[in-house]
Symmetry: C2
Subunit: 192 residues, 2 copies
Protein backbone atom coordinates (compact mmCIF):
# COMPACT_ATOMS: atom_id res chain seq x y z
CA UNK A 1 0.00 0.00 0.00
CA UNK A 2 2.77 2.40 0.95
CA UNK A 3 4.64 1.66 -2.22
CA UNK A 4 1.73 2.68 -4.36
CA UNK A 5 1.24 5.83 -2.32
CA UNK A 6 4.84 6.82 -2.84
CA UNK A 7 4.45 6.17 -6.55
CA UNK A 8 1.43 8.39 -6.77
CA UNK A 9 3.20 11.09 -4.82
CA UNK A 10 6.20 10.97 -7.13
CA UNK A 11 3.92 11.05 -10.10
CA UNK A 12 2.12 14.13 -8.80
CA UNK A 13 5.47 15.77 -8.12
CA UNK A 14 6.57 15.10 -11.65
CA UNK A 15 3.36 16.52 -13.03
CA UNK A 16 3.90 19.72 -11.06
CA UNK A 17 7.46 19.80 -12.37
CA UNK A 18 6.22 19.58 -15.94
CA UNK A 19 3.74 22.41 -15.51
CA UNK A 20 6.21 24.59 -13.64
CA UNK A 21 8.94 23.99 -16.21
CA UNK A 22 6.61 24.68 -19.12
CA UNK A 23 5.57 27.92 -17.47
CA UNK A 24 9.13 29.06 -16.82
CA UNK A 25 10.23 28.18 -20.31
CA UNK A 26 7.27 30.03 -21.79
CA UNK A 27 7.94 33.14 -19.72
CA UNK A 28 11.62 33.06 -20.60
CA UNK A 29 11.45 32.36 -24.31
CA UNK A 30 7.79 32.40 -25.31
CA UNK A 31 5.38 29.53 -25.95
CA UNK A 32 6.93 28.79 -29.33
CA UNK A 33 10.05 27.67 -27.50
CA UNK A 34 8.04 25.23 -25.39
CA UNK A 35 8.49 22.15 -27.52
CA UNK A 36 7.99 18.64 -26.23
CA UNK A 37 11.67 17.96 -26.78
CA UNK A 38 12.97 20.97 -24.89
CA UNK A 39 10.45 20.43 -22.14
CA UNK A 40 11.34 16.76 -21.73
CA UNK A 41 15.00 17.64 -21.71
CA UNK A 42 14.53 20.18 -18.92
CA UNK A 43 12.60 17.80 -16.71
CA UNK A 44 15.20 15.14 -17.48
CA UNK A 45 12.71 12.60 -18.85
CA UNK A 46 11.99 11.47 -22.35
CA UNK A 47 9.16 12.88 -24.42
CA UNK A 48 6.66 10.04 -23.98
CA UNK A 49 6.61 10.73 -20.25
CA UNK A 50 4.81 13.98 -21.00
CA UNK A 51 2.09 12.02 -22.71
CA UNK A 52 1.58 9.81 -19.69
CA UNK A 53 0.54 12.95 -17.77
CA UNK A 54 -1.15 15.02 -20.47
CA UNK A 55 -2.90 14.20 -23.71
CA UNK A 56 -0.67 16.61 -25.53
CA UNK A 57 0.82 20.05 -25.57
CA UNK A 58 -2.64 21.64 -25.39
CA UNK A 59 -3.34 20.10 -22.02
CA UNK A 60 -0.04 21.34 -20.68
CA UNK A 61 -0.97 24.84 -21.73
CA UNK A 62 -4.33 24.30 -20.08
CA UNK A 63 -2.67 23.26 -16.83
CA UNK A 64 -0.57 26.43 -16.83
CA UNK A 65 -3.73 28.42 -17.52
CA UNK A 66 -5.52 26.95 -14.52
CA UNK A 67 -2.56 27.66 -12.26
CA UNK A 68 -2.53 31.22 -13.55
CA UNK A 69 -6.24 31.68 -13.02
CA UNK A 70 -5.92 30.65 -9.39
CA UNK A 71 -3.08 33.10 -8.84
CA UNK A 72 -4.92 35.88 -10.60
CA UNK A 73 -7.98 35.37 -8.40
CA UNK A 74 -5.81 35.69 -5.29
CA UNK A 75 -4.16 38.87 -6.54
CA UNK A 76 -7.44 40.45 -7.61
CA UNK A 77 -9.01 39.82 -4.22
CA UNK A 78 -5.93 41.12 -2.41
CA UNK A 79 -5.97 44.31 -4.44
CA UNK A 80 -9.69 44.83 -3.84
CA UNK A 81 -9.32 44.20 -0.12
CA UNK A 82 -6.53 46.76 0.24
CA UNK A 83 -8.65 49.54 -1.30
CA UNK A 84 -11.18 51.78 0.42
CA UNK A 85 -14.47 52.64 -1.20
CA UNK A 86 -15.95 51.55 -4.54
CA UNK A 87 -13.91 53.87 -6.71
CA UNK A 88 -10.53 52.96 -5.32
CA UNK A 89 -11.53 49.32 -5.32
CA UNK A 90 -12.43 49.24 -8.99
CA UNK A 91 -9.30 51.15 -9.92
CA UNK A 92 -7.15 48.79 -7.88
CA UNK A 93 -8.90 45.83 -9.47
CA UNK A 94 -8.25 47.08 -12.98
CA UNK A 95 -4.62 47.84 -12.20
CA UNK A 96 -4.14 44.44 -10.61
CA UNK A 97 -5.61 42.72 -13.66
CA UNK A 98 -3.44 44.58 -16.13
CA UNK A 99 -0.46 44.18 -13.86
CA UNK A 100 -0.91 40.44 -13.77
CA UNK A 101 -1.04 40.32 -17.55
CA UNK A 102 2.14 42.39 -17.79
CA UNK A 103 4.09 40.41 -15.23
CA UNK A 104 2.98 36.99 -16.51
CA UNK A 105 2.56 37.39 -20.26
CA UNK A 106 2.99 33.71 -21.06
CA UNK A 107 0.53 32.65 -18.40
CA UNK A 108 -1.93 35.25 -19.60
CA UNK A 109 -1.56 33.89 -23.12
CA UNK A 110 -2.19 30.38 -21.86
CA UNK A 111 -5.36 31.59 -20.17
CA UNK A 112 -6.87 33.69 -22.92
CA UNK A 113 -4.93 33.65 -26.16
CA UNK A 114 -3.88 30.06 -26.71
CA UNK A 115 -5.97 26.98 -27.01
CA UNK A 116 -5.62 25.12 -23.76
CA UNK A 117 -8.59 22.93 -24.50
CA UNK A 118 -10.56 24.45 -21.65
CA UNK A 119 -14.27 25.04 -21.57
CA UNK A 120 -15.52 28.56 -20.88
CA UNK A 121 -18.78 30.15 -19.94
CA UNK A 122 -20.51 26.83 -19.52
CA UNK A 123 -21.12 24.16 -16.94
CA UNK A 124 -17.91 22.20 -17.26
CA UNK A 125 -15.74 25.27 -16.98
CA UNK A 126 -12.92 24.43 -14.54
CA UNK A 127 -13.31 25.88 -11.08
CA UNK A 128 -10.27 28.20 -11.10
CA UNK A 129 -11.58 30.01 -14.16
CA UNK A 130 -15.03 30.47 -12.66
CA UNK A 131 -13.40 31.70 -9.48
CA UNK A 132 -11.25 34.28 -11.24
CA UNK A 133 -14.39 35.63 -12.86
CA UNK A 134 -16.09 35.58 -9.48
CA UNK A 135 -13.24 37.63 -8.02
CA UNK A 136 -13.93 40.30 -10.62
CA UNK A 137 -17.65 40.17 -10.02
CA UNK A 138 -17.34 40.55 -6.25
CA UNK A 139 -15.79 43.99 -6.61
CA UNK A 140 -17.75 45.08 -9.65
CA UNK A 141 -21.33 44.32 -8.73
CA UNK A 142 -21.48 47.35 -6.45
CA UNK A 143 -20.67 49.64 -9.39
CA UNK A 144 -22.73 47.93 -12.09
CA UNK A 145 -25.46 50.54 -11.79
CA UNK A 146 -29.18 50.17 -11.23
CA UNK A 147 -31.03 47.75 -13.42
CA UNK A 148 -27.86 46.34 -14.92
CA UNK A 149 -27.10 42.68 -14.46
CA UNK A 150 -23.82 42.45 -12.48
CA UNK A 151 -22.75 39.42 -14.49
CA UNK A 152 -23.22 41.22 -17.77
CA UNK A 153 -21.45 44.29 -16.43
CA UNK A 154 -18.54 42.16 -15.29
CA UNK A 155 -18.30 40.58 -18.72
CA UNK A 156 -18.07 43.97 -20.37
CA UNK A 157 -15.57 45.29 -17.86
CA UNK A 158 -13.49 42.15 -18.22
CA UNK A 159 -13.58 42.35 -22.01
CA UNK A 160 -12.37 45.93 -21.89
CA UNK A 161 -9.50 45.01 -19.59
CA UNK A 162 -8.67 42.05 -21.79
CA UNK A 163 -8.59 44.29 -24.83
CA UNK A 164 -6.26 46.75 -23.12
CA UNK A 165 -4.02 43.94 -21.92
CA UNK A 166 -3.66 42.18 -25.25
CA UNK A 167 -3.41 45.23 -27.48
CA UNK A 168 -0.85 46.85 -25.21
CA UNK A 169 1.29 43.77 -25.02
CA UNK A 170 1.12 43.22 -28.76
CA UNK A 171 2.46 46.72 -29.30
CA UNK A 172 -0.86 47.94 -30.67
CA UNK A 173 -1.28 50.59 -27.98
CA UNK A 174 1.50 52.88 -26.75
CA UNK A 175 2.50 51.69 -23.24
CA UNK A 176 3.16 55.13 -21.70
CA UNK A 177 -0.55 56.00 -21.74
CA UNK A 178 -1.62 52.76 -20.10
CA UNK A 179 -2.50 54.39 -16.79
CA UNK A 180 -4.55 57.14 -18.42
CA UNK A 181 -6.50 54.54 -20.39
CA UNK A 182 -7.18 52.58 -17.23
CA UNK A 183 -8.45 55.69 -15.47
CA UNK A 184 -10.71 56.61 -18.36
CA UNK A 185 -12.14 53.11 -18.50
CA UNK A 186 -12.89 53.01 -14.79
CA UNK A 187 -14.36 56.51 -14.75
CA UNK A 188 -16.73 55.75 -17.58
CA UNK A 189 -17.77 52.16 -16.97
CA UNK A 190 -18.25 52.16 -13.23
CA UNK A 191 -21.27 53.88 -11.74
CA UNK A 192 -19.89 55.59 -8.66
Amino acid sequence: MSVQERRERERADRERLIVQTARELAEQQGWDAVTTRRLSERIEYSQPVLYSHFRGKREIIGAVALQGAAEMAVELRAAARAADGPRDRVTALARAYLDFATRNPAVYDAMFQLDGGLAFAQEDTPEPLKDAFAALLESLEEVAGDGVDPGLFTEVFWAALHGLATLTRAGRLPPPDAERRTQLLVDRLAVL
Copy 2:
Protein backbone atom coordinates in the same frame (compact mmCIF):
# COMPACT_ATOMS: atom_id res chain seq x y z
CA MET B 1 8.74 47.23 -72.76
CA SER B 2 5.31 45.68 -73.13
CA VAL B 3 6.68 42.26 -72.31
CA GLN B 4 7.96 43.42 -68.98
CA GLU B 5 4.70 45.15 -68.25
CA ARG B 6 2.78 41.94 -68.90
CA ARG B 7 5.16 40.10 -66.62
CA GLU B 8 4.67 42.54 -63.81
CA ARG B 9 0.94 42.36 -64.27
CA GLU B 10 0.96 38.57 -64.13
CA ARG B 11 3.15 38.70 -61.10
CA ALA B 12 0.80 41.09 -59.33
CA ASP B 13 -2.12 38.87 -60.28
CA ARG B 14 -0.41 35.87 -58.78
CA GLU B 15 0.34 37.76 -55.61
CA ARG B 16 -3.31 38.65 -55.27
CA LEU B 17 -4.17 35.02 -55.90
CA ILE B 18 -1.87 33.94 -53.08
CA VAL B 19 -3.39 36.38 -50.60
CA GLN B 20 -6.93 35.59 -51.65
CA THR B 21 -6.34 31.85 -51.48
CA ALA B 22 -4.67 32.09 -48.08
CA ARG B 23 -7.62 34.10 -46.83
CA GLU B 24 -10.21 31.66 -48.15
CA LEU B 25 -8.35 28.68 -46.79
CA ALA B 26 -8.02 30.36 -43.40
CA GLU B 27 -11.72 31.20 -43.26
CA GLN B 28 -12.68 27.69 -44.31
CA GLN B 29 -10.36 25.63 -42.14
CA GLY B 30 -8.53 28.02 -39.84
CA TRP B 31 -5.02 29.44 -40.05
CA ASP B 32 -3.47 26.18 -38.88
CA ALA B 33 -4.61 24.63 -42.14
CA VAL B 34 -2.84 27.33 -44.14
CA THR B 35 0.44 25.54 -44.70
CA THR B 36 2.85 26.48 -47.45
CA ARG B 37 2.24 23.12 -49.08
CA ARG B 38 -1.53 23.36 -49.14
CA LEU B 39 -1.38 26.95 -50.23
CA SER B 40 1.04 26.25 -53.08
CA GLU B 41 -1.09 23.33 -54.17
CA ARG B 42 -4.21 25.49 -54.34
CA ILE B 43 -2.57 28.20 -56.40
CA GLU B 44 -1.07 25.47 -58.59
CA TYR B 45 2.52 26.54 -58.10
CA SER B 46 5.32 25.03 -56.08
CA GLN B 47 6.21 26.20 -52.60
CA PRO B 48 9.25 28.30 -53.50
CA VAL B 49 7.02 30.55 -55.58
CA LEU B 50 5.46 31.77 -52.36
CA TYR B 51 8.86 32.88 -51.19
CA SER B 52 9.46 34.92 -54.32
CA HIS B 53 6.49 37.05 -53.28
CA PHE B 54 6.70 36.99 -49.50
CA ARG B 55 9.51 36.48 -47.03
CA GLY B 56 7.53 33.75 -45.35
CA LYS B 57 4.21 32.75 -43.92
CA ARG B 58 4.20 35.75 -41.59
CA GLU B 59 4.19 38.19 -44.46
CA ILE B 60 1.30 36.36 -46.10
CA ILE B 61 -0.67 36.73 -42.89
CA GLY B 62 0.33 40.38 -42.86
CA ALA B 63 -0.96 40.86 -46.39
CA VAL B 64 -4.32 39.36 -45.45
CA ALA B 65 -4.38 41.64 -42.42
CA LEU B 66 -3.84 44.75 -44.53
CA GLN B 67 -6.57 43.73 -46.93
CA GLY B 68 -8.87 43.17 -43.98
CA ALA B 69 -8.04 46.53 -42.43
CA ALA B 70 -8.94 48.30 -45.64
CA GLU B 71 -12.26 46.49 -45.83
CA MET B 72 -13.00 47.16 -42.19
CA ALA B 73 -12.38 50.87 -42.64
CA VAL B 74 -14.86 50.96 -45.50
CA GLU B 75 -17.51 49.11 -43.52
CA LEU B 76 -17.04 51.24 -40.42
CA ARG B 77 -17.42 54.46 -42.39
CA ALA B 78 -20.46 53.11 -44.21
CA ALA B 79 -22.12 52.18 -40.94
CA ALA B 80 -21.36 55.55 -39.41
CA ARG B 81 -22.65 57.41 -42.45
CA ALA B 82 -25.95 55.52 -42.41
CA ALA B 83 -26.68 56.53 -38.82
CA ASP B 84 -28.27 59.76 -37.56
CA GLY B 85 -26.94 61.51 -34.49
CA PRO B 86 -24.01 60.67 -32.23
CA ARG B 87 -25.72 57.90 -30.30
CA ASP B 88 -26.92 55.93 -33.27
CA ARG B 89 -23.59 56.50 -34.96
CA VAL B 90 -21.55 55.07 -32.12
CA THR B 91 -23.89 52.12 -31.75
CA ALA B 92 -23.75 51.42 -35.46
CA LEU B 93 -19.97 51.71 -35.35
CA ALA B 94 -19.67 49.21 -32.54
CA ARG B 95 -22.05 46.78 -34.21
CA ALA B 96 -20.18 47.09 -37.50
CA TYR B 97 -16.87 46.38 -35.80
CA LEU B 98 -18.12 43.30 -33.97
CA ASP B 99 -19.97 42.20 -37.06
CA PHE B 100 -16.82 42.35 -39.13
CA ALA B 101 -14.99 40.24 -36.58
CA THR B 102 -17.78 37.69 -36.59
CA ARG B 103 -18.09 37.45 -40.35
CA ASN B 104 -14.34 37.37 -41.01
CA PRO B 105 -12.81 35.55 -38.05
CA ALA B 106 -9.65 34.48 -39.85
CA VAL B 107 -9.04 37.96 -41.21
CA TYR B 108 -9.63 39.43 -37.77
CA ASP B 109 -7.11 36.98 -36.35
CA ALA B 110 -4.60 37.99 -39.00
CA MET B 111 -5.10 41.62 -38.04
CA PHE B 112 -4.97 41.37 -34.27
CA GLN B 113 -4.23 37.91 -32.95
CA LEU B 114 -1.51 36.51 -35.16
CA ASP B 115 1.93 37.83 -35.86
CA GLY B 116 1.82 39.31 -39.31
CA GLY B 117 5.08 41.15 -38.78
CA LEU B 118 3.33 44.51 -38.96
CA ALA B 119 4.25 47.61 -37.01
CA PHE B 120 1.61 49.22 -34.86
CA ALA B 121 1.17 52.51 -33.13
CA GLN B 122 4.32 53.95 -34.59
CA GLU B 123 5.55 55.79 -37.64
CA ASP B 124 6.04 52.89 -39.99
CA THR B 125 2.59 51.48 -39.33
CA PRO B 126 1.09 50.56 -42.72
CA GLU B 127 -1.48 53.00 -44.06
CA PRO B 128 -4.52 50.67 -44.01
CA LEU B 129 -4.09 50.08 -40.29
CA LYS B 130 -3.79 53.76 -39.52
CA ASP B 131 -6.83 54.39 -41.66
CA ALA B 132 -8.96 51.79 -39.90
CA PHE B 133 -8.11 53.47 -36.62
CA ALA B 134 -8.91 56.81 -38.20
CA ALA B 135 -12.32 55.50 -39.23
CA LEU B 136 -13.03 54.72 -35.60
CA LEU B 137 -11.75 58.07 -34.43
CA GLU B 138 -13.86 60.05 -36.90
CA SER B 139 -17.06 58.81 -35.31
CA LEU B 140 -15.82 58.69 -31.75
CA GLU B 141 -14.23 62.08 -31.24
CA GLU B 142 -17.62 63.73 -30.95
CA VAL B 143 -18.48 61.52 -27.97
CA ALA B 144 -15.10 61.50 -26.23
CA GLY B 145 -16.28 64.05 -23.71
CA ASP B 146 -14.78 67.36 -22.65
CA GLY B 147 -11.14 67.37 -21.75
CA VAL B 148 -10.58 63.86 -22.97
CA ASP B 149 -8.11 63.27 -25.76
CA PRO B 150 -10.09 61.77 -28.68
CA GLY B 151 -7.17 59.52 -29.59
CA LEU B 152 -6.98 58.10 -26.09
CA PHE B 153 -10.73 57.66 -25.99
CA THR B 154 -10.67 55.82 -29.30
CA GLU B 155 -7.95 53.52 -28.02
CA VAL B 156 -10.03 52.60 -25.00
CA PHE B 157 -13.18 52.13 -27.03
CA TRP B 158 -11.32 50.05 -29.56
CA ALA B 159 -9.75 47.91 -26.83
CA ALA B 160 -13.17 47.24 -25.35
CA LEU B 161 -14.56 46.20 -28.72
CA HIS B 162 -11.52 44.05 -29.32
CA GLY B 163 -12.01 42.35 -25.99
CA LEU B 164 -15.65 41.63 -26.73
CA ALA B 165 -14.79 40.33 -30.19
CA THR B 166 -12.03 37.97 -29.13
CA LEU B 167 -13.61 36.67 -25.93
CA THR B 168 -16.91 36.04 -27.66
CA ARG B 169 -15.34 34.21 -30.54
CA ALA B 170 -13.15 32.13 -28.25
CA GLY B 171 -16.25 30.94 -26.44
CA ARG B 172 -15.37 32.91 -23.33
CA LEU B 173 -18.54 35.00 -23.42
CA PRO B 174 -22.02 33.64 -24.15
CA PRO B 175 -22.99 34.81 -27.66
CA PRO B 176 -26.70 35.41 -26.99
CA ASP B 177 -25.96 38.44 -24.80
CA ALA B 178 -23.65 40.07 -27.33
CA GLU B 179 -26.09 42.82 -28.23
CA ARG B 180 -26.78 43.69 -24.59
CA ARG B 181 -23.07 43.95 -23.91
CA THR B 182 -22.62 46.22 -26.90
CA GLN B 183 -25.41 48.48 -25.71
CA LEU B 184 -24.00 48.67 -22.21
CA LEU B 185 -20.56 49.51 -23.53
CA VAL B 186 -21.83 52.30 -25.77
CA ASP B 187 -24.09 53.74 -23.09
CA ARG B 188 -21.29 53.95 -20.56
CA LEU B 189 -18.27 54.88 -22.62
CA ALA B 190 -19.75 57.48 -24.93
CA VAL B 191 -20.62 60.92 -23.61
CA LEU B 192 -23.89 61.74 -25.33
